[in-house]
């Protein structure tokens, strides 16, 4: 690498790339990296492909029709564990965004919740009110409430469950969960086929602006600054194109830095509309991308770093909710899928401060807490608290799992212990 952080372009294994994304506000890094020349600066000529389903994006990346793309954070892990039906192992070397989802309920359900709540509705009291409503509905023989999310292996799915279990609501028995594509959420809510959903922006803003739904909880309230999208490629692709991979990560870290300048957010929204990436009202997209506490984060607080503690967290959710039927070795899989080493090389080359450690405790981080960076500087991290106030120590994932009251893993505790014995 050269001192200025740009790879010698002739060392790139491939310069013309096709990357996939979904029409969502947090696809901004890919859109801006292309439109504002960040990819080009690193010698990459990128064509973006707007996909309409995560399954289609995954299949195309797996098949090599796309070189990689924006993925839901749990997707590369599910692919590597072979849980997604395709089982083409994938890796990620960077996070693309934090926050950005919310749980929206219909106006009718919101009214019922608000009646039971003193003061403003928030993530905590809305779940408690919902538990009372579910009990009342059951006593009267009413149908179960239906909540939608976007994909089996998505942060949305786990956030919805975290919100429900925070009030001891059993997500598998007390309500009905289903999957609805993001762009169809608002119409499903409007038609009364779902009572609530957890989806990414701008589809929450759209429901609120059109007066169809009301926010009861944000992803940030459920887990502060938690991982949402990642840059995913197949393991084979990463192996065959290490320099192109580095160039892509460098361009996207620089884009993330640009995106976290408040004045650039509106530019990003306008660019996405001009490029025809999203078919949603401009006002909703602009509001969704506005920088505010709890809003979408692209760069602040080491947001782009692929924390392996996030990988372990997602594996635990897959186990807890019986999507995973075998005992994974947490640290091995996390190291295989989350490529911290590649991130650190890139960070050093572009002067980006970067955490020294691959893991952090989740749940006890205060906003503005300081962590030493790999290059001797320091990084200010965002808060990482959870709705139920729990603390997740990635050193003891099994301990965390056994403390949960709801959600029984299909894998016995003993098998988990054995798979994770350090030799």
């Amino acid at each position: 690498m050269k001192g200025n952080g740009r790879l010698v372009h002739s060392s790139l294994e491939k310069t013309s790339l096709r990357l996939g994304l979904l029409p969502l506000a947090d696809a901004a890094p890919l859109v801006i990296a292309k439109s504002h020349g960040f990819f080009a600066r690193h010698g990459l000529d990128v064509e973006l492909s707007v996909e309409r389903a995560w399954a289609a994006l995954r299949d195309k990346v797996a098949a090599g029709v796309l070189d990689g793309g924006q993925m839901l954070a749990p997707m590369p892990i599910a692919a590597t564990l072979g849980l997604d039906g395709v089982a083409v192992p994938m890796v990620t070397a960077m996070n693309l965004s934090l926050n950005g989802n919310a749980i929206i309920v219909s106006r009718a359900l919101h009214e019922r919740i608000a009646e039971l709540v003193e003061g403003p509705v928030d993530a905590g009291n809305s779940a408690i009110a919902l538990a009372q409503l579910i009990a009342a509905d059951r006593a009267q023989g009413n149908r179960r409430l239906v909540f939608a999310h976007v994909f089996p292996f998505s942060a949305h799915h786990y956030e919805l469950r975290m919100w429900l279990v925070s009030a001891n609501i059993d997500p598998d028995n007390d309500v009905q969960l289903c999957v609805v594509p993001p762009s169809q959420m608002v119409q499903e809510l409007d038609a009364g086929r779902v009572d609530g959903y957890c989806v990414g922006e701008p589809w929450n803003e759209v429901a609120v602006q059109r007066g169809i739904g009301m926010t009861v909880a944000t992803k940030h309230e459920i887990w502060n600054n938690s991982p949402e999208k990642v840059l995913g490629v197949t393991r084979d692709w990463a192996y065959a194109h290490p320099n192109t991979h580095r160039a892509m990560v460098a361009a996207l870290i620089e884009t993330a830095r640009w995106l976290d300048q408040p004045e650039n957010r509106i530019v990003a929204a306008e660019q996405m509309i001009a490029d025809g990436v999203i078919d949603a009202p401009a006002s909703a997209l602009k509001a969704a991308l506005e920088m505010r506490t709890g809003g979408i984060v692209f760069h602040r607080g080491a947001a782009t770093f692929p924390w392996r503690s996030h990988a372990v967290w997602f594996m635990l959710q897959m186990l807890r909710w019986r999507q995973c039927w075998m005992a994974p070795n947490f640290s091995d899989i996390a190291a295989e899928v989350y490529r911290c080493e590649l991130y650190r090389e890139v960070a050093a080359s572009i002067g980006e401060p970067c955490p020294r450690s691959d893991y952090k405790t989740e749940g006890d981080g205060r906003d503005g807490s300081v962590m030493p960076s790999a290059d001797g500087r320091s990084i200010r991290l965002g808060a990482d608290g959870m709705l139920d106030g729990s603390i997740f120590d990635p050193v003891d994932p099994i301990g965390w799992l056994t403390r949960q009251k709801l959600g029984l893993p299909a894998v016995g505790q003993a098998s988990l212990l054995l798979a994770n014995v350090v030799p």
Binding site: A53, D59, K60, G64, V65, F151, A414
Partner: protein, 225 residues
């Protein structure tokens, strides 16, 4: 949710596996493996739908429901109970299908994806990577049944394999853990191998547990102590 590879360039491998009873109440009436299948079609392109429908009906299949890509797919599956689903590769509701196998009441179903001719590269590569079963626009109708047979055969093989794999993994894990627990007892209690195994078996029986499960408990406990 499984998506199955379908090789459009090759005829189905023989011998064809028997259709499992779960895909139809009617037994196969002839050597043709899959007739009378209940098919669900999901697409927005009316002319393509018509082409597929005619081809499938000509082969003796029943179109139980046609849906556009905005329709409520799960309700369609629940009401019409299709044996196989044909869906546009780019339909947003593909993500809904991904959750089919994960909903307890719903069994996974074989899926055939179809792509526009302009997207033939996607189909071709996906087939080669073992990702998906693809039908490309303009495919000759007589090839359709053969493709369908392969899609279902692959689906059944995959289902059987994953069940076998689970069972085999469990057996392997049992063997490994029993060996390790035996080793632990031999060392701690100064027993020989036969005595250690007898002790392990008795402790498991006393607690009404499978010996493999008990071995794991013992190992986990020893790890903590």
């Amino acid at each position: 949710m499984k998506v199955y590879k379908l090789e459009a360039s090759q005829p189905p491998a023989s011998p064809k596996p028997q259709r499992s009873s779960s895909y139809s109440d009617k037994a196969p009436s002839s050597k043709m493996a899959h007739r009378g299948l209940r098919v669900m079609l999901v697409d927005d392109d009316a002319s393509r739908l018509l082409m597929l429908e005619q081809a499938l009906v000509a082969e003796g299949h029943v179109i139980v429901v046609r849906l556009d890509t905005q329709a409520d797919l799960l309700a369609g599956v629940t009401v019409h109970q299709p044996d196989v689903i044909f869906i546009d590769v780019d339909a947003p509701s593909r993500d809904t299908l991904e959750s089919l196998g994960q909903i307890h009441r719903e069994r996974p179903r074989p899926i055939v994806l179809f792509a526009a001719r302009s997207d033939a590269e996607t189909a071709h590569r996906a087939v080669h990577a073992g990702v998906s079963a693809y039908v490309v626009d303009g495919l000759h109708p007589t090839r359709l049944s053969a493709l369908l047979d392969v899609a279902i055969a692959r689906f059944e093989v995959h289902q059987a394999l994953s069940q076998e794999l689970t069972a085999a993994n469990a057996r392997l894990a049992d063997q490994r853990d029993i060996e390790r627990a035996k080793g632990l007892l031999m060392k701690r209690r100064k027993l020989d191998e036969g005595e250690a195994y007898a002790m392990l078996r008795k402790m498991a029986m006393d607690r009404k547990q499978r010996i493999g499960d008990y071995a794991r408990l013992l190992l986990a406990a020893s790890d903590v102590l």
